[in-house]
Symmetry: D2
């Protein structure tokens, strides 16, 4: 049984408290937030949890094994670094940090101290995304051609990040988890339509070392909510609609076939293939519950988290490159890294 | 009553013959095609129409007032130029030509001879697109923020053009017709997944002189057919779904409102507004019928076509810029023109 | 401020506790349930609420003004009668009772004592149903032709009632509230496919004194969840889809028009009319919150509840007639009452 | 190669001419219609086909092997009887006749003369319905519980039949083909909202000798077009949506399971099961083409048609019972027949 302290009880913090309270191997003993009103809410809901406006008190508490950080992105690096230095395992909201350099520092600090650093890329723990990964790994799709995601709705405008850092971060973590090609460059275009704010609409193209390509449309100013991803492959294709109540993943046995490659006449060369469609039953356990459970096990066993600091770093690198490209109206920005674990 | 000769009786030609035969002011007297099999089909369906494998015979026929050209893009310039030189009015498939320079030459030739040059940007004549234009012109949307279109399906791969020239051309002509901002640059990314072919998937971003931005996703390798466009404005927003049998245009009274601009606290500054949704009744006459009728009237009265050579040229300029950017993985390519009529 | 005691903390009870706790004019002071496990859950969630396994203790408590009853239907009559005799106002789950006679007894008891008897027909308090009523009342639909509802899904099988008493009760209360015609007969067909259970699928037709007709399909064994109602009128028609996240009510300006009534030729007599579709913005406040608030106001002011005992009785009479018809494979069963307030 | 004469060139006749012209083993040599305007249209479209206003001339033509009858229902019996007496095989629109007695007479006449009598229940020849039958026959659904169909839209009001004879006839033929239980009684309710017309909205329940039950909602006055059928079974369930462009049939691995039958506590007895969903690839050949081909083969080989007179008779018997029940507001009307082939 590990003791968790939660820092930040705003929009997401209550979900962390609820889920860490519900798993077998952990309990939430303290919550820190700057806003006393939020702390009173904690006490009403969970009379046994300690509350404080001073997160340092929480870090100083030797009975706390790990902290879960759900604060604005700009505070992530400072809080996580202090927590690691205080010997606490860290579960932190996405994106991990504001810069790749900060992420690397946190990874180094956690590694040096043998502590778990887990980024809350929650989608990785959904049944839908895990199913997509297994379909890709099992070769069901054949060669994977593209990942195309539309993630749009009206609001919520964030005040310290633009729509890419708020919404595209989900897709970048999914892509990092599901596919195995290495991204080489990012092109991003976008626009800010509301005075005094960051970009509220953006398009990202991510290029890979092979013919795989990914594209994201993220938008806080759309009339309807859409969460739909197309994944194209040489053998099969996927439509992943996260708003579908049950059949979130549909696998289409569709594609093209090439005939007579030496034939000059085009019309004889490409055939269209359409077979069954199949919507596999998905594990519908709450993703955050599974993530909390996974984190607790990592703390207890020393196992590495699926969404560790490295995965958080890879995502931040893509976000940084996207921000750079956005400023230059879509000029492709190369990624200098050496890939996974590089 | 004008006499029409149709050149090309492949995929689209039969629609031209059918629609020009159905309008009051025109009749189709001849069809030319290289393929005798296709000509036999013409005779079976329309015993009274003359057929020939030699389009020159058709141009030499002094009883023919106008030609409708439905041949591969690579032949457009040559055929249209000869037709104009033979004194025929020209109705030509989209895109007008393969290069802007060719388009300019055709425009000059038509103007010099006082002939109608009409590009078959059919969508402009649909009830849905005309309604979008009137909503924009009447200020219903307020400031127009973006046009976002997804036009994807499985096939049909074209042999002489890529997916941009085949599918994005529709959106570029719609944008040209509906909006009044001047495009300044294009960024395009894409990929070719089928050996020996042009790009089968592409993303275009079109930048404008103001904060308006447009984006297109076109794809021949998608598991499902999607034809959906979002148009965002400061007052209202549109969802245009061309696959809806009846409510193709939905107008959402949604948006954000700004409060207390000097206030530091972000959460008080942006409010979300959601009102009624409204799907206006659209004229559901066949677009090609209306276009054919419009062309015939232009020939008879000397009126200028809504989709004249200039509109065809503006679209070709965007296509050229997109092709250039595609080669450079999304580098934004500036548009050198001086805008409409420039 | 009135004090509420809640009897029954099973599936629905927690919603009652949460909503009565959230309104301004009431507080929940006690909860009774036979299951001690459920009572421990109450204490964990709401430490200040008293709990008891003996509902009589709750009725004996003079500080409690009103009780909210959320127990199986078979216990409704007994509990409500005792509560009224103990001088408590009563908020009770639907259906009010198992027989019309029981309902009449409760109404008489409440009237004699000047107590509020409110049936929890929650749908009446949704924005969608209130909008339907105002559309009907304002004459927007013209003559109302029919109400057709499909309310199907997989589960939850109930153990003391069949699918009519479980699901059709919602539609019967909506019909009672929205329309003003008097029902005259009911025909019901259905089937029980699972050994040892009540009907899990049923069809009800309700006939009215005029040409209005209503029909319900309720089903616990359907592969998909559907909550869709069509309302036909001479001027406009409604599609009410309760699963739509935002546009639950769509109003279609569609219908037929009659021409030349004396004309023998049918084809000239009926014309089809299709105009705009319109989805009005709905109040999306939680219906149970509004109902709780309404109940508290009725207790305080003596106002009559919109869903009073009489409305509960009218619904039970239809349910009784449906059960009778179901046994006779759809034989229409006449309703003997004298209508509203009769 | 057989020669077909088509009687009636109104709404459906052109489809018969087109499809019988397209199959290998038949050709259309004559068309009869009372309306000379329609006959001129035939000549424009098919110059080689003979036309006549006198169907008797067509029957007298010894070169014609078979007639296809596409006239109003009220004329079916007379025309088909004369055709059979003239020695012609008969392909006839649905419903076969206005009464079961008439149908029996036609069957007897055809049998006596060894002629093919084929009813155009076109849906039987669709890929979707054939797939449903094979799923049922292969036991994929387990015990079949119910067939529930909604077939509604705005128009087209018919002048000689009500909505049951116009629309429910499709479902009755599908049920006859797909399921093997014997219907025992019919209950029908409906309403006529447009003065001087037959019922424009109706509900049919068909009872069977076992626990299978079928229900149809047919409506000419609905704001939206719906063609959706649910089929429930003990092992799997089907949603058949005929308006879906590609996945018309979806098979759900869903249902309930019974545990511990002796257990008193209900909540432990029923479990809900949800597995994969699967949309099989369907044959998308035009149903009428397949039907025409099947008819021609029956004529040539003497094979019995899948939709022979007996199947037409079974459907007419259900229609007659439905009409009777409709008059009595849903009173169940027993079917007196002895079942298939009885």
């Amino acid at each position: 049984m590990i003791n968790i302290g939660v820092i930040g009880y705003g929009y997401w913090g209550p979900n962390l408290v609820r889920n860490f309270s519900a798993i077998a191997d952990a309990q939430v003993s303290s919550v820190a937030d700057l806003d006393e009103e939020r702390l009173r809410l904690v006490k009403r809901r969970h009379p046994s949890i300690e509350v404080t406006t001073d997160f340092k008190a929480l870090l100083a508490n030797s009975e706390i094994d790990a902290v879960a950080i759900a604060t604005p992105v700009s505070s992530h690096f400072g809080l996580a670094l202090e927590a690691l230095r205080a010997g606490k395992h860290v579960f932190i909201e996405k994106p991990l940090t504001q810069t790749a350099e900060q992420a690397e520092q946190l990874i180094a600090e956690a590694d040096r101290r043998g502590l778990v650093l887990h980024v809350d890329h929650t989608f990785i723990y959904t049944g839908a995304v895990r199913k997509m990964r297994s379909l890709v790994d099992d070769g069901e799709l054949g060669d994977v051609y593209y990942y195309d995601s539309v993630r749009v709705n009206l609001g919520l405008f964030q005040n310290d990040v633009d729509v890419i850092w708020d919404l595209a971060v989900h897709d970048l973590s999914i892509m990092d988890y599901v596919f195995h090609s290495k991204p080489t460059a990012v092109s991003a275009s976008g626009m800010n339509h509301i005075a005094g704010n960051e970009a509220n609409l953006a398009y990202l193209t991510v290029f890979y070392e092979d013919e795989f390509i990914a594209h994201l449309h993220v938008n806080w100013l759309a009339p309807v909510k859409i969460r739909r991803t197309l994944v194209g492959g040489s053998r099969k294709m996927i439509v992943y609609d996260d708003l579908e109540p049950s059949e979130k993943i549909k696998v289409y046995d569709k594609g093209v076939t090439l005939h007579g490659t030496k034939d000059n006449e085009y019309s004889r060369r490409i055939g269209y293939r359409a077979g069954d469609m199949w919507a596999p039953k998905l594990d519908d356990a709450e993703a955050l519950h599974i993530a909390a459970d996974h984190f607790a096990r990592c703390v207890i066993t020393g196992e590495r988290s699926i969404t560790d600091g490295q995965s958080g770093l890879r995502v931040v690198r893509l976000l940084e490159a996207a921000s750079q490209s956005l400023k230059e109206r879509g000029r492709p920005v190369k990624l200098g890294w050496k890939g996974r674990g590089g």
